[in-house]
């Protein structure tokens, strides 16, 4: 059994299991950790698929930055460890699973017809000639330099967004804010900062 096959069959179950774990655990922190495991598995697959650059990015950006951000927010919000609340949407869960199954079946059919389960990638990944990172850079900065620029705007917007949402929050306790929300029922107004007791 070739090595990549072995690795695949080792990590694939782990990734699926971690994903399922994320679905099932009550604690948000645990879920985030499961997701990180999953992301690591994906990084491994990237390596297997001759994408070392993405392997690195996946670990640094995703598993590192993004998930840390998540964890940070989870901590910040002091999210409860999840007292199980009765599911109010009765059909939600079974329907979700049924549809999920159907989704996978459809995907399976499409992949079988479109790619085939015996098709293997070419033995040599010619596109990686001269090093994966260099090759990616070449594609990125020639064909895709414009989208690349767009992403910069995207990040700028994200920054503004965070600023707007956070900035406004800083004023949230002022009288002006309460006045502005005068149209809403006053009882629904909540103190913005840590009065501690959460509404049930």
């Amino acid at each position: 059994m070739p090595l990549d096959n072995v690795v695949f069959w080792v990590f694939a179950p782990i990734s699926v299991a971690s994903a399922i774990g994320m679905l099932l655990v009550r604690n948000a922190v645990h879920a985030a950790l499961f997701l990180i495991v999953n992301f690591f598995c994906l990084a491994v697959f990237y390596l297997l698929l001759d994408a070392p650059f993405l392997f690195a990015v996946q670990i640094v950006v995703y598993a590192g930055a993004i998930m840390v951000l998540f964890l940070f927010v989870i901590m910040l919000l002091g999210v409860d460890s999840g007292v199980p609340v009765r599911e109010r949407l009765i059909v939600q869960r079974p329907l979700a699973f049924a549809l999920g199954a159907a989704f996978v079946v459809e995907l399976f059919l499409a992949i079988r017809a479109g790619v085939g389960f015996t098709t293997k990638a070419p033995a040599v990944f010619t596109a990686n000639e001269g090093g994966n990172t260099q090759a990616v850079a070449k594609v990125l900065f020639t064909q895709y330099f414009f989208p690349f620029e767009v992403t910069s705007v995207l990040l700028l917007v994200a920054a503004i967004a965070a600023m707007v949402l956070a900035h406004r929050k800083a004023r949230a306790v002022t009288q002006a804010e309460i006045d502005a929300a005068a149209g809403e029922p006053a009882a629904d107004e909540m103190p913005a900062y840590g009065s501690g007791t959460a509404a049930p």
Binding site: E106, L107, L109, A110, I111, A113, G114, V115, A137, K138, F141, T142, Q143, Y144, F145, F146, P147, V150, T151, V153, L154, L156, V157, A158, I160, A161, M163, V164, L165, R168, K169, A172, T174, A176, E177, D179, A180, A181, A182, G183, E184, D188
Partner: protein, 488 residues
């Protein structure tokens, strides 16, 4: 050694200008001692107008049809969409300036840059020739809109923002999956490839995988259908429309739909053209469901914004009706419809904003009781918009309906047209109900409508436009004629 790519920036000059002025706006907000709406509006307006000029100059573009590594198409199709979107942005800014002036303390200068960014995303999405660019532009406009939705920080606005965000992210995941499948099918994400074969070439030449392409089509539809709020991907619409600040809804309602539909037309009518026989039934089904859901559910609404949200769902269905034709007639019809729809939406929400008195959001239908008595001008304008939505002559809405049905029937889809016209009757009921409130009920105590002059003028211009387009649709169809030919 990386070869220097050929940078032809003129085709994206409108977007560049928008982003540039957005940054100027941010700088003003950051460095001005007390940011004021008027300079903001000025900056944004100049940016928008400059972008419009830049867009106009592309009308007679003679250079390469695809530039920037084939990621952006230069055609009249995108010029039209840009102009509409820029108009919507301008009016959105105008509305917000007035809206914020009602309550200076809740004013946020970031509105303008965010609107400009969103507009840039929207204009880009309609010009994009690459699914990646479409995805990025989609995210650009979505992220901006999420923030705009929640910009007032009101309780309902933040709820709307959250719903919009979660569902938007969810659907964009599907869209991205679709992009991946398209890539898997065609080895390219270019809709039309010049340097290397794009999706359409791959599919037409049978080199791509049909099965994966179909999968891609299905998933892309989800993303687009979500953005255009076609049923059953529409569920966010009523909540977001109700919760978001009215100027944002005006801009968002009008522009998002235009942008998403223009992109959809390019992706499906050009990129997936070889699969026409496969995707038209999907569009057909979406059209039917949207029309029925939008028309029927609107009847039960008691909030004008929710009502208009359902109306927009139905309108999406009508536009899809035109697109079932999958030919230039259909595209032209959809484009006409979109223009009319954008104008009406902007106008109607402008009235909604004006009717809800200062600082408050009186959007219950009761606020419209006796409006004709209180402010006959607003009532008359609203009537024009509602009639256009209902498709009654002599408004643009009528011509729009006629053109989409013509396209559908021309393609043999007359049952769809029958459903459409029958649903129009149902829809007419709730539009009429608003007119009943305005003209045939006594005004409630203590209701006051806004006396904002600028928005009134804007709404008046829009209403005039609706009537003029209804009486002389030739003005617009003359422009759409050359623009509806999406190059391949």
């Amino acid at each position: 050694m990386i070869p220097t790519p050929v940078i032809e920036f003129r085709p994206i000059l409108p977007e560049l200008l928008l982003c540039g002025f957005a940054i100027v706006g941010m700088l003003y907000e950051a460095f001005a001692r007390r940011p004021d709406p008027v300079p903001h509006l000025a900056i944004a307006s100049i940016g928008i107008l400059a972008a419009a000029v830049a867009a106009f100059m592309l009308w007679d573009w003679t250079g390469a049809p695809y530039v920037l590594g084939d990621t952006v198409a230069v055609d009249r199709f995108s010029v039209v969409s840009r102009c509409v979107l820029l108009g919507a942005a301008l009016i959105g800014c105008l509305y917000y300036t007035h809206y914020a002036a009602r309550d200076p303390r809740s004013f946020l200068g970031e509105f303008y840059p965010l609107t400009l960014f969103a507009t840039a995303g929207m204009t880009l999405i309609t010009a994009a020739n690459d699914l990646v660019v479409i995805f990025l532009a989609l995210e650009l406009l979505s992220l901006s809109l999420y923030v705009l939705t929640g910009i007032t920080g009101r309780r309902s606005a933040s709820e709307a923002a959250m719903k919009y965000f979660l569902l938007g992210a969810f659907s964009s995941a599907f869209f991205l999956y679709g992009v991946a499948m398209a890539y898997g099918a065609a080895t390219s994400t270019k809709i039309v490839g010049v340097a290397a074969p794009g999706i359409v070439q791959a599919l037409a030449g049978q080199t791509g995988s049909q099965a994966l392409a179909l999968l891609a089509m299905a998933l892309l539809v989800v993303g687009f259908a979500f953005k255009v709020s076609a049923a059953p991907f529409h569920m966010w619409t009523p909540d977001v429309y109700e919760g978001a600040p009215t100027p944002v809804v005006a801009f968002m309602g009008a522009a998002t739909k235009v942008a998403a539909f223009f992109a959809l037309i390019r992706v499906f009518d050009v990129g997936l053209q070889p699969l026409t026989w496969d995707w038209t039934p999907v569009i057909y089904a979406l059209a039917v469901v949207s029309i029925l859901v939008g028309s029927v559910l609107a009847i039960a609404q008691r909030d004008i914004k929710r009502l208009l949200a359902y109306s927009s769902i139905a309108q999406a269905g009508f536009i899809l009706t035109g697109l079932t034709a999958a030919n230039s007639t259909g595209i032209r019809a959809a484009m006409f419809y979109l223009v009319a729809y954008a104008v009406v939406t902007l106008g109607a929400f402008g009235i909604v904003m004006l009717v809800s008195a200062r600082g408050e959001e009186q959007t219950s239908l009761d606020a419209y009781a006796g409006l004709a008595r209180r402010s006959p001008g607003l009532a008359a304008l609203m009537t024009v918009f509602l009639l256009s939505l209902a498709g009654i002559p002599p408004t643009a809405g009528f011509i729009a309906k006629v053109t989409v049905f013509t396209a559908a029937i021309g393609a043999g889809n007359w049952p769809l047209a029958v459903i459409g016209v029958v649903a129009s009757v149902v829809a007419a009921y709730f539009y009429l109900r608003v007119i009943v409130y305005m003209y045939m009920r006594e005004p409630a105590e203590g209701m006051a409508s806004d006396d904002g002059l600028l928005p009134r003028i804007a709404a008046g211009v829009l209403a005039t436009g609706i009537v003029v387009l209804g009486v002389f649709p030739g003005i617009l169809t003359g422009i759409l004629e050359p623009a509806s030919i999406v190059r391949w």
